[in-house]
Structure formats: structure tokens, C-alpha cells
Symmetry: C2
Subunit: 159 residues, 2 copies
DNA sequence: ACATTATTGTTATATACTATAACAATAATG
DNA sequence: CATTATTGTTATAGTATATAACAATAATGT
């Protein structure tokens, strides 16, 4: 008989997950934890976090975006966007350009340094996903993306 | 031309997501946000959060679980489990039973009230998932679960 | 039997994410 | 010109997550 402190075999989980295993949401959470942990490591060398990375990518792909539009695109509250934009601006990766005719609004634009860092970070995230999803066929990966995007794009449409 | 403050058509998102859309992780995050928001609403009437719900389910399905085992099962730090178990204990949904021969450890067990609440909460989560994934065929839902669980179960095995 | 090492649960602390409310400045509307 | 709405910001609170350190206690090694 094993001593009590010996770790249970990793290949043979000895917990009863029968209830939780029925739920897609549970698997989504656990799987996303794995992805997020690896993504966090991947982005660390660029001194980016998931939110600042996402914001940078969206600003690069959508010149002249306003903060409100960026918050909507990221599905976060406007108030919580401020520190994200502040950080990207402080690092001179983006600028808050003034909008002619509207003194309230900014037009967010990436700098050259921002676009360069973005390109590198995207390449690193591509490698991170290739690593994580290497066991998934191209067909299954496409199906996964389709199912997940159906879920959140439809939810965005219903807002 | 539309006035500037008019909301863009919801059916026709006018953002360029071409970079982010390539990433499974991005879709996982966005889709999970949707699931989590609905789950939060679902659990609110039971005064449960996702973590206290998960803990309760695991304790019901695994009598005599230790706190360390529960933390492992939930993939969270032992330190962060304390307030979760505290709350379930305070609500008399679970008890911290002593372990004969080991004064350090507890055996976590659900009370009758805990099992009853768990049963109702699980039923509500079943309905929440049926609502959210109604557009997904049974086959596709199974494929989604398989892909996601492959990802996180494999990661758990590699720890 | 005793010293050493490991485990269990806890406390403290820090960071990040998320939600809500309120506000000033400014634009749009009536 | 008064009223309403928008943009961005500040403040605050709650939750989740990570790390370090510790006391009490069990397991291990000699």
C-alpha cells in the first residue's frame, strides 16, 4: 500500500469528475487556464499581458480607433481600458491622437515601435498555439474555432 | 453618412479582427466570457460563484477529500482554497471532518443541505448549458468537449 | 528514539481582472 | 439655448490568482 504522501499517478486521476465532465463550460475554463498560462509566459518577454497584447493588436489592425470602440471590440468596460491604454502609451507603442472636431475623443494609433513589437508578439503567439495545439488536426482546430466563434459572435450580436 | 455617435450595426461588426481571429486562444477567451457571464447569473440565486460551485460539486462527488486534494482537483493554489472552503462551511453546505491519525488534515464532506443545493445548482447549470449551446448539435458538442478536454487533461498529465 | 524533512492548512500580501458609480468636458439633439 | 448623450477618467469594491512564510504535525532516515 502506498504511503499517504505519495503523489497519485498522474496518468490515473483518482478524482470523480463525473458531474463536472458533463459541462462544456467546465472544459472551456480548464482548457483556457492551460492556454492562458502558456500565453502569459509567451508574452512576458515582450512585457505584455493578454489584455495589453489584445489591445495592441486591435489598434494596429484598426487605425484611428476610439477608446470606446476599443473597449467594445475587447468586450471590456471603458473604465478598465484606461490603464491598458495608459501603459501602451507610456511604452510609446501607441499614441492618443486628437480627433479634429471632437475634443472628447482620441484616435488610437500604433507607433512604428508598436507595430514592430506587435509583429514579433503575434509571431510568438503563433508559435505558442502551434505548440499547444500540435495534437489537434487542422480540421479539428478549424471546427473548434468555428464552434467557439459561433458562441461568442452570436452572443455579441444579441447584445 | 451616419452620424458619428450612431451605434454600428450589430450584425455587421466593423472591426478588423483578422489577426485575433486566427487564434484559438482568443476564441476560447471570448467564448468563455459569454459562458461565464451566464453561469454567474445562473449561480447567483444559489449564492454560489463558479469556484464555490465547483468546489461543492467535487466535494459531493468525492467524499472525504482533503483540502490539498481539492486544490489539485480544481487546479488552484492551496492558499486560495481556504476562503472557498470557509464560505461553504459557514453556509453549512460542507463540514471539515477530522481525519483519524492525522491532526493536520481535514476530510471535506457535504451536508444534506449541501447535497440538496448542489443537486439544484447542477440542474440549473444543465439548463444554462442547454440554453447557451442549443445551436450546437450533440455531435459537435461532444467534439468540442473532446478537443477541450484533450487539451487540459493532457496538460494536467504533464505537470 | 531522535533529528531531519515533508506535508497540511493558514495568513499575509501583491497583482490583475472585472464591475459599478459618478463626474467633467464636450458634442448632439430638440 | 436648454437638455440629453457621449467620451474618457477616477474611485472603489469584489474576485481570482500567485507567492512567501509559518506553525503544527506526520513521515523518513539513522
Amino acid at each position: 500500500m502506498k504511503a499517504k504522501h505519495e503523489k497519485a499517478s498522474a496518468e490515473q486521476p483518482d478524482y470523480n469528475y463525473e458531474t463536472l465532465d458533463r459541462f462544456v463550460g467546465y472544459h472551456m475554463k480548464r482548457a483556457f487556464n492551460v492556454v492562458q498560462a502558456d500565453l502569459t509566459e509567451t508574452l512576458k518577454s515582450f512585457e505584455l499581458r493578454m489584455l495589453t497584447y489584445t489591445a495592441l493588436v486591435l489598434i494596429v489592425d484598426n487605425p484611428d480607433l476610439s477608446q470606446t470602440q476599443l473597449a467594445v471590440a475587447m468586450d471590456i468596460e471603458r473604465a478598465n481600458l484606461v490603464v491598458i491604454v495608459d501603459e501602451l502609451e507610456r511604452r510609446e507603442l501607441i499614441v492618443r491622437d486628437h480627433v479634429p472636431g471632437d475634443r472628447r475623443a482620441y484616435a488610437l494609433n500604433a507607433t512604428l515601435a508598436g507595430r514592430r513589437l506587435c509583429k514579433k508578439a503575434v509571431a510568438a503567439v503563433v508559435a505558442h498555439e502551434e505548440r499547444l495545439f500540435s495534437g489537434l488536426s487542422v480540421k479539428k482546430k478549424a471546427a473548434l474555432i468555428e464552434a467557439l466563434s459561433d458562441l461568442h459572435v452570436n452572443a455579441e450580436s444579441n447584445e
